[in-house]
Symmetry: C2
Subunit: 336 residues, 2 copies
């Protein structure tokens, strides 16, 4: 059995009330008493029992993150960095981080959220991979449970979120490609209810329009956000009678698949074909050739999100509910 507050109190011949207050830094304890209590507690190795504290305080100091997976075995470096950011910032604020996974948009996902929300296990959620209309937002709003998200959804006006300016970023990217003489620019995206698809695709279209390049639906394919998806999608693009000179991708993973396919078919990426990604995961610094991409500071975003969420949970005022960041265009050899 581990040592409880009662043990400490007994040892000191004090009431548990006093011990509790001394430890929690209430002002109405004698200096002397406080020091004695703190020291003794330390000596005895006392650590408050979380369950008891939570039950009494009616708050858990825990935040939840349910990883949206496409396939069970997925390996996306984006997420390990994201989780590291969440974990670090949570720890810094004396919060715990509860993690689970669930296939996006399924019953399983719903029940996971419900269990944590209703069981009062977490005080708030971090969401990402948002949909244009996202049931998670609607659900949490209805339940009055705090949440923050990476990317916004349209369900709730005043949500707190961090968002990277994908539209602007992609426009910049297209301008850059156009500046290099590209006119036939393809886009490999994802399911159209995903916020990142909407934004990045919009940026793509606006970019083309800005350069007066007509939009060609033949050049748009769904790549499922994965390496394999990019690989397959680009096969089709590279088989067109009129092959594109540039392939832009919704994320880095997709682009990696494209590089693979292009190489197999003998395209010289960076010379006869330009390829770009989005995210800026470490890995694409070392692809062959290194990949031009739009980098978002994933780790910092994760930390920022947690900080915002903690503020909300503590009932404090959030001075900046909507944070908007500019992705950084990193030009590497894949675009010549």
């Amino acid at each position: 059995m581990s040592v409880t507050i009662r043990d400490v109190a007994k040892r000191l011949n004090k009431s548990i009330t006093t011990v509790s207050r001394a430890l929690d830094g209430y002002p109405d304890v004698a200096q002397e008493t406080r020091q004695l209590v703190v020291r003794t507690a330390q000596e005895m190795g006392y650590v408050p029992n979380r369950a008891a504290r939570q039950l009494r305080r009616q708050r858990t100091d825990t935040i939840g993150y349910i990883l949206p997976t496409l396939t069970p075995q997925f390996a996306d470096p984006f997420f390990s960095e994201f989780i590291a950011g969440l974990g670090d910032e949570a720890a810094l604020n004396n919060f715990d981080l509860l993690v689970s996974t669930a296939p996006s948009g399924t019953e399983v996902e719903y029940s996971r959220y419900q269990k944590w929300a209703f069981g009062k296990k977490v005080s708030g959620f971090v969401l990402n991979r948002m949909h244009q209309y996202d049931w998670r937002v609607q659900y949490l709003v209805r339940q009055g449970i705090p949440y923050v998200s990476l990317e916004s959804s349209l369900d709730q006006e005043n949500s707190a979120y961090v968002e990277v300016d994908s539209v602007g970023g992609f426009k910049k990217l297209i301008s850059y490609l156009v500046g290099k003489g590209h006119k036939r620019i393809a886009y490999i995206g994802a399911s159209s209810d995903l916020k990142i698809q909407l934004d990045r695709f919009a940026g793509y279209q606006e970019g083309l329009a800005g350069a007066c390049i007509p939009f060609d639906p033949e050049l748009i394919i769904d790549g499922n956000l994965s390496r394999l998806g990019g690989y397959n999608a680009s096969q089709k693009l590279l088989e067109l009678k009129e092959v594109p000179t540039a392939i832009t991708c919704i994320n880095d993973l997709t682009a990696i698949g494209v590089l693979h396919a292009a190489h197999e078919r003998g395209f010289k990426v960076g010379q006869t074909l330009a390829v770009t990604g989005f995210d800026g995961i470490d890995e694409v610094e070392h692809t062959l050739p290194p990949l031009t991409t739009l980098k978002q500071p994933v780790y910092d975003i994760a930390r920022r999100l947690v900080k915002m969420l903690v503020t909300m949970i503590n009932g404090e005022l959030l001075n900046e509910r909507q944070v908007r960041l500019q992705p950084e265009l990193i030009i590497r050899e894949s675009t010549g």
Copy 2:
């Protein structure tokens, strides 16, 4: 306020005892009552309060995983897959997964473990990235806290763990390379107190010995397990008067860095230079050229570990405390 067991009881004009037992599947409640209770609870959206349950039961049904990081911003696909496995299997067993991060071997790491262990927040830990002698094992054994690990350490005879046969795998790999005519085979590893370094390097040495190839210390470098580390380490190897014809790496990330460096220096990987990895992360299926590697089933391993840990926590007998798996040699173009 969310709905409690009391609310359900009141609605049914039953005692909370009956409700509790009906829900937990005790045999001593009437069929009829049970169905009624279950249905009503469902309707009312009742979910047991975890804190209360934990406090009462004196167990947390939570397992902890503290991600060992080298740098804060790290992005290792290995971990996202590992965490997904932990999360899925935990959920399946009605356990929660608490995640944090800490730089390996620091004070911070120690205090994180201590906090979770002492605060009774987790019932057990999953460890990985083991050291030959690992303070975590010693600590947990001393505290009597259940744990399982990916890879073994020497601290405790009878630990429960899952381990991939790195030694055997690497030997097989070396034989394969030797069979292709390689004689000058380099090895990029990591800090020598890591279990994976010990094993994989041992496999490398045994492999050479088996083929009667003398060991050349010039061909051994530390690559820090990262892409950048592999990139830097291979620079040195490729500058030797007598350049190696094959470079084997402790993990896939390292190998990716090597591919990058080799390409920059004009080596044709797969022709004038062979490169191999270890882990079998998805990403290396799409490198240029695709990478020969030893694949371990990360997702399944994670699930298996959780299953073992849960068994231990539940006080049941673990029939197989030491699980040993064979990595699968996947031959791709990077070795010709």
